[in-house]
Symmetry: C2
DNA sequence: CGCATATGTAACCATATGGTTACATAAAAC
DNA sequence: GTTTTATGTAACCATATGGTTACATATGCG
């Protein structure tokens, strides 16, 4: 497990350095676009090293359906696994989400913050404009 | 446009207060899962009030394909529009992204930060363990 | 070694997605 | 009033998605 953690670190560092290209982004957002898959991520995050079958038991759908969702998450590099005998232990890799956060979400959050400020200013300006109009009419 | 900005503010405030439920999240992530749609968001962000046709002209696919993507973005509340005669002006609504950022991305970013710290610690501990092993053998 | 358990693959199916062309409607321009 | 322009709807089609059942393979346990 220690050597695996080092592998995880090296791999994640590589991902952090590397660019998350457009198709990677597609894959990550697509993976997150289904509630079951977000729930799977949460479960694996809470229980690192959980086995495939134990994860599948948490859902109302067939084990195979969960395997399919798992494949989507793995394809998006959101989940990585380590074979341990006949078991497969699953771990969250939050690097892609971190990179989206770094490169995309914060961009729009900054935009949002500036929009809110601008709209507030316009609302106040509009309110004063209405006041002046009424004073003129009376 | 001023009254529309106020409407935008009120609507966005309502969204901020309201909960982004699971299906909303599905819709937002799904909307962001296609490069053309992310590009559309970027263009509308850069040119608020752009018309549908002008937006469509920026892409290699048919106008109808862009309309379909637009419908996805509107369904996810990421883009809102205002009819102006025969034109339809488009605006970005970054509130859903902000809410995902608030409720989901930062959660995993915090997890990621703690994981990086933990892995670094394990890597150092492992490195010292190897040093001791070599000393013992020689 | 035989049985139990964990995981995976293949095939099927209904629905969704992302593109296309053809046609329709309404507003703007002349 | 007629023509042009902007947008939208409908239908079609190939592929993808998200589920299912049946079967296969490998590891673990008694």
């Amino acid at each position: 497990m220690v050597t695996y953690a080092i592998w995880l670190f090296v791999r994640a560092t590589h991902l952090t350095i590397g660019k998350l290209d457009s198709r990677d982004m597609d894959a990550v957002f697509q993976a997150l676009a289904h509630e079951s898959r977000r729930r799977m991520l949460d479960i694996v995050k809470t229980e690192p090293g959980i086995a495939v079958g134990a994860l599948a038991a948490e859902f109302d759908v067939t084990r195979i359906a969960v395997l399919k969702h798992l494949a989507v998450l793995e394809e998006a590099n959101l989940i990585i696994s380590e074979r341990d005998g006949r078991m497969r232990k699953l771990y969250v890799n939050a690097a892609p989400i971190q990179m989206i956060y770094d490169r995309w979400t914060t961009d729009y959050s900054a935009y949002w913050a500036s929009e809110m400020t601008r709209i507030k200013y316009l609302a106040e300006a509009s309110h004063q404009h209405e006041k002046r109009s009424q004073t003129g009419n009376s």
